[in-house]
């Protein structure tokens, strides 16, 4: 019982520390100009270099969605609805989710391990000791980069998913490509696009800040670094799923 209480206290303390880091991040917004160069560098690392991963992830999602729904809809003679199913599925849910999960793994692991290694080798202490705010220097550029780059990456996942769904529908289900494309595009409403593109911004913020936080929390040696990197990926992946559920539920009830 005592250990359960201690563990609970530790969790609350960790949450408190994370909140302090977010407070520091928001307070540092006035100095955001200082980290422009670092942010651009991070955009290349978390954005451009993840292009192929997201492109392939989106494409495979689109193919699977088209095949699975196509065969089921065919049973009711409604395979012509595959286009709208794929486009709505990709834009509203699967595009943001697959981008979020892939980037939670890729960017989350990168942030947690980089900052964790800096923590272990006292580089974070060195930044502070020489008067540099580590949150402004390390968290701000990573958060900005993620929030800026996750949006186009989600668009890449959506488009590649719809296009690959279109190709596989043509080859496997013999659905005319122009019909698929027309039904896919006409099914999309403005609120679908809004929901689909608001999610990545939210995901990006939490993926970047939580993974950086786990990096800062690293104490000890390489095993602690490995453990915290795993924790960062697991927690950010879960957060993506939970946020997706909340966002979908709340936004669809409001809009």
């Amino acid at each position: 019982m005592a250990s359960t209480i201690t563990n609970f206290k530790k969790k609350i303390y960790t949450l408190q520390e994370y909140t302090f880091m977010l407070r520091e991040l928001f307070l540092s917004l006035k100095y955001v100009n200082k980290c422009k160069r670092d942010a651009i560098n991070e955009m290349y690392l978390v954005g451009s270099q993840a292009f192929l991963l997201v492109l392939l992830g989106g494409a495979f999602m689109g193919i699977i969605l088209a095949l699975e729904t196509g065969h089921q809809l065919d049973l009711f003679g409604a395979k012509n609805l595959v286009g709208r199913t794929v486009s709505l599925g990709m834009v509203r849910e699967l595009g943001p989710i697959i981008t979020g999960l892939l980037l939670a793994a890729r960017t989350g692991a990168k942030n947690a391990s980089e900052i964790g290694a800096m923590q272990i080798s006292e580089q974070i202490d060195a930044l502070r000791a020489f008067g540099t705010n580590p949150v402004l220097k390390l968290v701000m550029p990573r958060t900005i980069a993620a929030m800026v780059m996750f949006l186009p990456l989600t668009a890449v996942a959506d488009i590649s998913g719809i296009l690959s769904g279109m190709v596989v529908s043509k080859l496997s289900l013999h659905i005319d490509t122009s019909f698929f494309w027309h039904s896919a595009i006409s099914a999309l409403l403005m609120k679908d696009i809004f929901v689909g593109f608001a999610k990545p911004i939210l995901f990006a913020f939490f993926i970047a800040t939580i993974s950086c936080f786990y990096g800062f929390q690293t104490r000890g040696g390489t095993s602690a670094l490995g453990k915290n990197t795993i924790n960062a990926v697991v927690v950010t992946s879960l957060i993506v799923l939970v946020l997706d559920l909340i966002f979908t539920k709340v936004v669809w009830e409001l809009l």
Partner: protein, 253 residues
Amino acid sequence: MIRLENVSLAFEDKVILDNISLSIKKGEIAVILGPSGAGKSSIIKIMVGLWQPDSGRVFIGNKDISKLSESEMLPLRRKMGIVFQGNALFDSLTVEENVSYFLKEHGSLKSSEINAKVSEILSFINLEGTEKICIDQLSGGMKKRVAIARALSFDPEIIFYDEPTTGLDPINAKSILDLIKRVSERGATSIAVTHILNDAVSIGDTLSVINDGTVVQTGTVQDMLASENKFVKDFFYVVYQDAALLKNKKFYK
């Protein structure tokens, strides 16, 4: 210059520092000496303001820094330099980039002035010509020199050394100790923590022996050698032993 008054620090149930009081005069080399785990590095981190004590006060000059926020500490930190135990250099950067890193971050110097400053510091620590070498290609002794160079970049009034010779061979260790003395001659107050007795005796104007988070004795080397305190006597026993060995020339047998 630096004063610790009744400073205590604990992490969860473990007491790190227990009611420590210390005073370090301007311009001197003060060595905090003690076994591993005695709380030496914690003292440095408290003096630099990286950690805040649970109780007690820390004065840099006349300013109590024990409760200052990070932003309030910034102007004071510009007057300090710190050499970390593991150097804490940015290993993907070159020597020049490491030394100039914080000058570029905070300084108002022009690029040409920064380059001149870096050259001057590297010349002072005898590392001319290494500007473009990446940190991971340097030896342990050279890395330590670069860490000292980085600490000197703001011409600090106070410079802290955390275990400056740990992991170095005797020749490199001696050159680092000589460098610490030369840095001190530039006018900086130096505070070094170490568990290596010979280093402490070699550079320290004053020594403070600590054990289990408390100061056991403070004074000069002579004070320590004359001490009746059992811990100090045990700790300094090796000095007598080495002296006796040298006297009897046992090393040459």
